[in-house]
Amino acid sequence: MTQTQVLVVGAGPAGIAAAAAAAEQGCEVVLLDDNAGPGGQIWRAGVPEAKSGEYAARDRALARLQRSGATILGGHRVFDAHARLAPDGAGTLLALRQDRTGATAVRFAYQHAILATGARERFLPFPGWTLPGVFGAGGLQALVKGGFAVEGKRVLVAGTGPLLLAVAAHLKAYGAHVIAVAEQASLAQLAPFAASLWSNPAKIWQGLGYRAALAGAPYRTGCWPVAATAAGEGSFLESVTLSDGKRTWQEPCDLLACGFHLVPNTELAVLMGCELAGGFVKVDRQQRTSLPGVFCVGEPTGIAGLEAALVQGEIAGLACAGQASKALEKQAAAERAFASRLERAFALRPELLKLASANTIICRCEDVPFGSLAGHSGWTDAKLQTRCGMGPCQGRVCGPAVEALLGWTPVSVRPPIFPVPLSALCLSDDSLTADDELKQSELLKENA
């Protein structure tokens, strides 16, 4: 078991800020992430890196993190949590350590935990959304950063949210031919949001920068995908049908990057017993959850973007070290107001909830079509009868879709919150650290 004063889960901007702030105050800090390296989604490293100035802030944050002395552990996915035995006692989390050869369960004990688990994209099912060539918007961006070459490929970016412009600009920087950005929100819906940005010039410049980078690619508001088609069974995406409510038309393309804003990753917070409010983790001004010693920062507390994540992380990191952060708290409150404006501006139009036909797959893990959910009263019933939401993603993809389409809310979060190989659970004593394991295997060799 690894013991630490502060355990940060998630090495995106919020987690990085939290870990650095706490470590700079002299706390012993361990930062876990399920990806190989720190950065999270927005600050994910690229192979090769696109030429742009957007990484300056990331590079500064990562350099600060390195200097702070926090221990950074990549390839660690937290899948279970154990409550404290006493209010002032240590809590523990279990993580799956993944490397090339396999996975091992390891346990961490902490005095303070900071949950920085980020957000995922919301997917809405439409005919053809399971075809190869259809990705999440942030999903395609991540894969391109991971080395997937899109140079010369025709890409349609569709869905909703501020992420679409950022993704399109990014794909273009990697040489993709972005044929259009289809934003489902109407211009009338977006206008008050755009106007409200005058209170935050930095965000305007960011938006204008993306727009300029996209020169030549139309940004269509009030426009959404209704179907994706392939050349034949088992083949790749060939075209996407778009609609503006009055007419529909085909856009031939090689790739579709499609996401409908973000949903918070609250599973770990819920498993630990943190209270939610309106679907987000409830926190006070210092990012404290309802559980003693457990903080939550970034998107799980409200989809508010990068600046909010950074300031919230800073506040929580300082709070772990017993430091005040009054000025930062004011900034955090302003960023929270931005989150609610975002939500209003990019609210889903009702037409999007009618795209799935009876044979459109809703649960991709178990291939459950929309039609087979008819007649079920809710999640428990549907899970028992159809296996919807019972696959390895544990309903992370179909859950938000079903909530939008049918109004069903998730029923429970149970451990393990990610799939864990039985061998990892059975073969490893979860109280061991890597060093202990090494010593034990040496001991076994000596005794053999």
Partner: protein, 80 residues
């Protein structure tokens, strides 16, 4: 010059260091897995959430290809 050599469904390919297995499979036009009803699937979320990209890596099943980096000599197969 690409610096890692791996095999995807038996075909040799070379990728740059830092490339994820899911990206390499897309590059090779190889689905990560075949769904329970027989559809070819590739990565969707790219961030370890959707598990559409779980593939067989060095003989181990259900590996999250979007979170694994390619390594020299790696043998990657579509999960069926």
């Amino acid at each position: 010059m690409p610096d890692i050599r791996l095999f995807i469904n038996g075909n040799e390919m070379r990728v740059k260091s830092g490339t994820t297995v899911a990206a390499a499979m897309l590059q090779a036009n190889a689905p990560c897995r075949t769904s329970v009803s027989g559809e070819p699937r590739t990565a969707l979320c790219g961030m370890g959430i959707c598990f559409e990209c779980r593939a067989v890596v060095d003989g181990v099943t259900h590996r999250p290809a979007c979170q694994m980096l390619c390594a020299d000599g790696m043998i990657v197969e579509t999960a069926r």
